[in-house]
């Protein structure tokens, strides 16, 4: 995440001060990120040869089609004029971070070898809520390469309880014990 993206995200976050506006901007940014990352639109969105008129036309079309708010529409035009459209994914990420911080919540990824049931998810969420002292928004992923167990990523930290890692540690200990 670049410093430029953080500055733009902070500006947008401060502009969206009305009640409910930040939630709406966050939803729209998430939708917009998915759209501009699509195979149809990504080449045009990231094309540096577009003229200012073409960029403005593209943004206007997106605003119209996705029914984006007035504030986000003006922000996108501003990005288009500054030739910063490619920074949108980073800006969305930074905005989401600012929004989460303002609501005292954080996001976590739970990766497990097998799907987690709701009870287990609740227990894990409660444990990490207690650990971070923030509301934890969870995204779950199933990764068979873990072999078993679970890996949690939260606030830049990784809590690794996977069987794959335990096997690797065990192997490293055995090899290390042999060399000493």
């Amino acid at each position: 995440m670049s410093a430029v993206a953080r500055r733009y995200a902070k500006a947008l976050f401060e502009l969206a001060a009305e009640p409910g506006s930040r939630e709406q901007i966050a939803r729209e940014l998430e939708l917009l990120r998915g759209v501009v990352a699509s195979a149809e639109l990504a080449p045009m969105w990231n094309n540096p040869r577009l003229t200012a008129e073409q960029r403005r036309a593209l943004v206007a079309a997106l605003q119209r089609e996705l029914q984006l708010s007035e504030l986000l529409g003006r922000f996108l035009h501003c990005l288009a004029d500054a030739k910063r459209l490619r920074e949108l994914p980073s800006i969305e990420q930074a905005f989401e971070q600012l929004f989460d911080e303002s609501l005292r919540r954080t996001r976590a990824v739970f990766r497990s070898a097998l799907p987690l049931d709701e009870t287990t998810l609740d227990r894990l969420r409660a444990r990490f809520t207690a650990l971070t002292e923030k509301e934890v928004l969870v995204r779950t992923e199933v990764d068979p390469e873990l072999l078993g167990g679970i890996v949690v990523e939260v606030e830049g930290k990784i809590f690794d309880g996977s069987v794959r890692t335990q096997l690797a540690r065990m192997a490293a200990r055995l090899v290390g014990a042999a060399s000493h």
């Binding site: 167990g149 309880g161 690797a168 090899v175």
Partner: protein
């Protein structure tokens, strides 16, 4: 010396007078018939005396000086010859002594040489033994290191194989109950 001088002078006088005696009868016979020719004898004697005086005055001192120098030189040469002879005798005796000691010195030298050779042989042997010990030690150390390396490689290979087998086994046999136990263990390990 005076006797020599007197004898020498008498000899010379007889030699000078001899012609006078021989010539005297012929003069007498011519002048007076018989009787000695006194005048001739007188002048002959005078001549002889002058001759003797000249010899004694000028010849004899030079001759005596020459004889004295000759005597001194002969004595000096005799002394030098005696000294040289003594030196030669001394050198001869010295060399004779050395020759007498040569065999002993040769024997001593031979023993010394043999002792040096023996010491050198011992030194070379000790050096060779030291080098051999160092080579043996290095070889042993290298062998141990190589053995350890092979052991580590083998162990690493075994661990890798075991890990792979464990992965396959877990992948095929991991159940929901195992997953639940793993999550419980994970929750115990996460700091609260």
């Amino acid at each position: 010396m005076s006797r020599f001088r007197m004898g020498f002078a008498s000899g010379l006088a007889l030699l000078a007078l001899a012609p006078a005696w021989a010539a005297a009868p012929s003069h007498g016979e011519q002048a007076h018939g018989h009787g000695p020719p006194w005048a001739t004898l007188f002048f002959t004697v005078i001549n002889f005396l002058i001759f003797v005086w000249l010899l004694a005055r000028y010849v004899w001192p030079q001759m005596r000086l020459w004889l004295r120098e000759r005597h001194t030189a002969v004595v000096s040469e005799l002394e030098t010859a005696a000294k040289l002879r003594e030196e030669a005798e001394r050198l001869r005796a010295q060399w004779a002594e050395r020759l007498a000691r040569v065999e002993q010195e040769v024997a001593t030298l031979r023993q010394s040489l043999l002792a040096d050779l023996e010491r050198e042989r011992q030194r070379v042997l000790a050096e060779a033994e030291k080098v051999a010990a160092a080579i043996r030690h290095d070889a042993e150390r290298q062998a141990v290191a190589e053995l350890r390396r092979l052991e580590e490689e083998l162990r690493a290979e075994l661990v890798l194989r075991a890990q792979e087998l464990a992965r396959v086994w877990v992948r095929n046999n991991w159940t929901a109950a195992d997953q639940q136990r793993a999550v419980e263990e994970f929750l115990r390990q996460v700091p609260s």
